[in-house]
Symmetry: C2
Amino acid sequence: MTAPSPILQVDRPQRADAKRNYDQLIAAADAEFTQKGATASLDEIAKRAGVGIGTLYRHFPTRDDLIARVLHKSTQSLVDRGRAMLDKPSPADQLAKWIAELVVYVTTYRGLTGALANSYVADEDTELCQGCVMITETGEALLARAQREREIRSDAAIKEIILSAHAAAWIAEQTKDPAAVDRLLGILFDGLRVVEPKKKRAVVKAKKPPRRAARR
Amino acid sequence: MTAPSPILQVDRPQRADAKRNYDQLIAAADAEFTQKGATASLDEIAKRAGVGIGTLYRHFPTRDDLIARVLHKSTQSLVDRGRAMLDKPSPADQLAKWIAELVVYVTTYRGLTGALANSYVADEDTELCQGCVMITETGEALLARAQREREIRSDAAIKEIILSAHAAAWIAEQTKDPAAVDRLLGILFDGLRVVEPKKKRAVVKAKKPPRRAARR
DNA sequence: ACCTGAACACCGTTCAAGT
DNA sequence: ACCTGAACACCGTTCAAGT
């Protein structure tokens, strides 16, 4: 399942001046997003890039497109690191660690969580969605392994976990309290981990015995 | 701790026409928020109320003020119901039930979670903050009781729990999936409940007898 | 006291005109 | 092919002028 890495296709413009504008727009957007957050003025971005506003719209029809391209490398990196974790021991810890990295990712710019969570569910054919799909698949692989090893509750779904991470990041943003993320993720994973190898929290008849249970 | 009920003071205008405008603005805002969400155009609200935009600003200097007044009854009701729950059995269940009602409250209008979570942390002297403080105190009382009865982890903080509820509501909004709230709150409370009365989940050398729980 | 709405500043988006 | 920026539509906020 560990496919070759660069999957996100980016079709760049051909003409030299167009390509230059394109690159400058991305650089300007990155700077502007960093300063003003993900809702920074597009006009300002165009100005900073030394380009007409129409050119911005030509290259990036929607704000999400621009965000997606600016995040492109980070997205790829996050996915790659997640895949690498599939080979490391302690599946549940790896998942938790990757989720923590996901939180850093969605916190790159202020207000980014909103844009990402929106596109996460939009299911349209946007650039941003493409990234979300890859991230979801990576998380799914990590989760499935942790569930196979009986470390994470079998009824947990990757979508919920990822959205919870978004939520934790969103809260940290709103409250300006960076430590909130850790506390919230801590609670989340306390809820997700399998506590007892045999007994479940509710009355559940024991089916197959777990093959290699971490004896507390 | 169960204080007499109406605490939120609302100073209404005196003159007859002013009072009429005030009431019409609230009614218009309620309608408009319901239709367009909490970021509805203030201009539109003034128009619907048959009032100049300046009048709206006179009565409600900020959008949050308007929101607070529109929510006023619901806020009071939520607080009252929470206080009533203090006398009912099963503290943890009562807390969970109240949190579920909190989620309904913060979902009254689309986009409301953002406004509320912001003011939740703003700590300014706005109307909206006043409501948040009351809600926080109510939740605190419910949580303290559940902790006293050893039903909820002693290291849980009301702020995190309430913000998690906000987050769950926010996610349900973003994903347009109402069922997400229940699943997320389910995970949250699984993480919050005390699993074992004596033994804790992690390996912790018993220094003092376990009055306070260790994290992780 | 209170209301009105024109005026200002800002933003997103489109599109005719240019090279 | 691609770029430009004026033009349009919209929104929030203020304030001089009115009653």
